[in-house]
Symmetry: C2
Subunit: 310 residues, 2 copies
């Protein structure tokens, strides 16, 4: 159903109407004070919010407008993937300065493509002027058993999806004033939230999961600290992009791959098939002192990486 409340006059409503045309059946019931959603019986509501700010999370000379919209949406949906939740919908707050107005529909197109690929919908939003282009994406999902960061158990295997290092390589190239390699650029510009994988590993008994937004080592540290364990990661087992270095890959942020822990009996093949992505074992959870340490090559790794946006 794609019934929208008839909207009023004015510039904001005209812009919203144009957005709704772009989104078509991917927008549902927009125009009331709030959207009404159903959480499937027996499931719990999972919510997260994520902001993409021009000059902080992206630069407009690095990405196309559609890529900016796609990436903001996928980054937010990635948090649902990490919880093993199925998306119910998103709300989107766009702050659009005058000089970016001409790209509004292209940003929206990118948002809509991300919704289409993840089979979810936009149920509400807020459109505002302002000096800085910004996308606030809040995502809603549901899960019978959401997977947090705090459940990793000694003896569990540590797993990661995909190959790491692309976003850091793309950023490094841009910062040198060069065009990044196309495959690195694509990893930064076109991430895909690992929603199917997240649900599959949750169903298969994953004990903890996180999406790699700060860099593998930093995010592994979050799991270790939350779970009160040590994550012993073998640097040489990290799946790295072609030509990349493990030491760079483990501090590459905004990967939007999943890092998860699962009992030793975990079979990666069905989850990898469901998620359409490789999953690689990179270490073992241990009783650690201090809790939260990560090791590589059996030596402690200093967590100098990870993104810190403020």
């Amino acid at each position: 159903m794609t019934t929208h409340i008839p909207l009023g006059e004015g510039r904001e409503f005209a812009a919203i109407r144009a957005l709704l045309e772009i989104w078509g059946p991917r927008a549902r019931g927009i125009g009331d004070d709030a959207a009404v959603l159903e959480v499937p019986p027996g499931e719990r509501l999972v919510v997260s919010t994520d902001t993409s700010v021009d000059g902080v999370h992206f630069r407009r000379d690095w990405l196309t407008p559609a890529e900016i919209g796609w990436r903001a949406t996928m980054a937010a949906l990635s948090d649902l993937a990490a919880m093993g939740a199925a998306p119910l919908g998103i709300v989107l707050a766009i702050t659009c300065p005058p000089e970016a107005r001409e790209h509004l529909l292209a940003y929206a197109y990118g948002v809509g493509e991300a919704l289409r690929v993840t089979d979810t919908v936009i149920v509400g939003g807020d459109l505002s002027g302002g000096a800085t282009l910004s996308f606030g994406v809040t995502v809603f999902g549901s899960a019978v058993r959401p997977v947090g960061r705090a459940g990793a158990q000694p003896g569990d295997g540590i797993w990661v999806s995909g190959t790491l290092g692309g976003p850091a390589a793309a950023l490094a190239a841009w910062e040198r004033g060069e065009a990044p390699h196309q495959s690195h650029r694509e990893r930064f510009a076109g991430p895909v939230a690992r929603l199917a994988l997240g649900r599959a590993v949750a169903a298969a008994g994953a004990t903890a999961a996180i999406d790699i937004s700060d860099g593998l080592l930093a995010d592994a540290g979050h799991v270790a600290r939350a779970s009160g364990v040590e994550l012993r990661i073998a640097l040489e087992d990290i799946p790295v992009i072609e030509g990349g270095q493990p030491r760079e890959a483990v501090v590459s942020g905004e990967e939007y791959e999943l890092l998860f822990t699962a009992p030793a009996s975990f079979d990666p093949a069905p989850a990898a098939a469901a998620g359409g992505v490789t999953v690689t074992r990179i270490g073992t959870v241990a009783v650690g002192a201090p809790p939260g340490g990560c090791t590589a090559h059996r030596k402690p790794v200093v967590k100098t990486g990870g993104d810190d946006h403020i």
Copy 2:
């Protein structure tokens, strides 16, 4: 319960820890990729997002930092009030430029006070740098029967809460370079989401409701258009602030009072008592041509007012 996931190192986490100290029991379970909430059985999930941007929705020389945080939170919660929903929680995305960092805890204090007064909690958020101070507040609530804009029926009474005109008078004073009257300033700086009133009128059979963010006439137009009816409003019956003019009051935005329609049998006294605010009948819903027109003094009113932020 106020269990938080242990947080990691870094400047962002240090800031989040300081925010959590400010919020105390008003923050719950923060630190995972997403928050997990329960929607009461038999109720529907209601969600809305609202952005407050420096220079657009407020000015930092007009409001204290705590007022900025309070107002951003109440403006978002007001959409739940309009739906007749009880709040389950909020997520908050703060974009904070370097020169505003010193006020971060004061913004958060204002958010926390708004949460305390409305008896709700913050369950997640996002803290980012950026050139423009901005607060993205997404609210979650639940209701057995959410009240939208589309249900107004011919013959229904039209009601409004509180007294109107204060925010417009405050803005006019600021724009003349004068200090606003304290009572007008308070209406702009310290709105209170009419959550209890919204639930009471929903339970009493309200057919449509909206919060007055664009100005009474503009918002009445939204209800009229969504419901396919005419809202005949008697300008002389509008409850106006002391010394104010009805023609100014009906185009005063960001009032965060409720406009609602209810069958002729509606008794305002119990709802007003539950909401702790006056409710005043200002007109009658009619079969209208064209649908969506509003009248005052039996003459059509041209909607020249209403806020249009983009």
